[in-house]
Symmetry: C2
Subunit: 194 residues, 2 copies
DNA sequence: GTCTATATTTCGATAGAC
DNA sequence: GTCTATCGAAATATAGAC
C-alpha cells in the first residue's frame, strides 16, 4: 500500500475529529477509530504514541489560529489602536471559524477532555504563552473595563452565532447567516445605544 | 448518623458538580466523589443507581431554567411580541446565569459527557421537547432571519461575557462586569448601527 | 445507609511476527 | 506499516454482611 507520506496519519486525524465531535473524546476508543478506518488498533500506535497525542495534534491547529490573531495585537502600539483594530480582528475570527468549524466544535464539546493535556510538555509550552497573552489583554487597565467586556461579548456573539448556524438552527444556508453574525458582533462591541 | 432526609444525596450532587467542573465528568471516578465525601464508592449506589444518574440530576436543573425561559414565549401571541420581549428575557437569562454559574459551567465543559444521556428515558422525554421548542423558535420564518440570528448572538454575548467574568478574565469584581454584559447583549440584539 | 469484597468490562498500551 | 495476541490498569457495578 504505497500511500503518499503522512496520508494515513492525516486520515486518522480526520476520522478522530469526526468521532470526537459525534460522541466525545473519552467515549471514543482507539478501537472505534481503527474500525472506521479499516485498520487495527495497534496500527494507530505506529502513527501516534498515545491516544492523547491525537487530541493534542488537533488542538495545536487551533493554537495556531489563536496565535495568528494574538500576534496582530503585538503590532499595535497603544490601547486606542487595539480598540480601533477590534472590528477587523472580529472579521478575521469569523473567517477562521467558518473555515475551521469542525475544529472549533471539537474544542467546544471536549473542554473537559482537553484538561488532560495539562501536564503535556508540548502543549504547556505553547498554551501557557497563549493564555497569558490573552489574559494580559483582557485585564489591561488602560483599556476601559466596558471595552474589554464588550470585546469578549462580541467574540461570544460570533461563536454562538456561527455554531448555531452550523447546527442548522436557523434552517437557512449559513452564507446568509454570516453577515448578520458580523453585524451583531460589531454591535455588541461598539454600539452605544441604550 | 441522623442526617436530614436527602441531605447526603444533596452533598453527593454538590461534590460531584465541583469535581465535574474541576476535571470533567469522565475523569471523575465514583471513588473520587466518595473519598471527598468521606464515604465509600458503594454507598453512592444507594443514592444513585448509576454514575450517569448523578450527571442527569444536575443537568435536569438546567432544563428547568430553560423551560422557564421558553414558557414565557408561549404566552406571547405573535412574532412582534417575541421580538419586543427579547430584551426582558435576556435580562432574565443573565440573572439565571449569575445565580447558577456552576451549573452552566458544567454544561459548557461537559458537553461530550452529556451525550451519554441520549438514550436515557427520563432525559429524552424532557430534552426532546425543549430542543424542539427552541428549534421551532429559531427557525420560525415569520421572524426575520436577522432578528433570529441576533437573538442567538445576544445569548452568546451573555454566555461568554459572564463565563469570562466568572473566570476572572477581566481582573475585576463581576458586579461591575454584569451591567456591561447586559448592555453588550442588548446591543447585539437590537442595534442598527453600521 | 454504609461497609468489604469481588465480579465484569473496557480500554490503553506493548510484544513480536509478517 | 499493519497484524494477532495479550497484559495490566482502572472503572462501573453487584452481592451480601452489619
Amino acid at each position: 500500500m504505497a500511500r503518499p507520506r503522512g496520508a494515513t496519519r492525516e486520515r486518522i486525524l480526520d476520522v478522530a475529529l469526526e468521532l470526537f465531535n459525534e460522541q466525545g473524546y473519552d467515549k471514543t476508543s482507539l478501537r472505534q477509530i481503527a474500525d472506521r478506518l479499516g485498520v487495527t488498533k495497534a496500527a494507530l500506535y505506529y502513527h501516534f504514541e498515545r491516544k492523547e497525542d491525537i487530541l493534542l495534534e488537533l488542538h495545536l491547529r487551533l493554537h495556531e489560529i489563536g496565535r495568528n490573531l494574538l500576534d496582530q495585537f503585538d503590532l499595535l502600539e497603544d490601547e486606542g489602536a487595539i480598540v480601533a483594530a477590534w472590528p477587523r480582528l472580529l472579521d478575521q475570527f469569523v473567517d477562521d471559524m467558518v473555515a475551521n468549524r469542525e475544529l472549533f466544535l471539537m474544542h467546544e464539546r471536549n473542554q473537559n477532555a482537553l484538561m488532560v493535556l495539562e501536564g503535556n510538555e508540548r502543549h504547556e509550552s505553547e498554551n501557557e504563552d497563549l493564555e497569558q497573552r490573552f489574559r494580559r489583554l483582557m485585564s489591561n487597565p488602560e483599556i476601559p473595563l466596558e471595552q474589554r467586556v464588550r470585546m469578549t461579548c462580541s467574540v461570544g456573539a460570533v461563536f454562538i452565532g456561527l455554531m448555531s448556524a452550523g447546527a442548522s438552527i436557523f434552517g437557512e444556508a449559513s452564507d446568509e447567516v454570516v453577515p448578520f453574525v458580523r453585524k451583531a458582533a460589531r454591535a455588541a462591541f461598539s454600539s452605544s445605544e441604550d
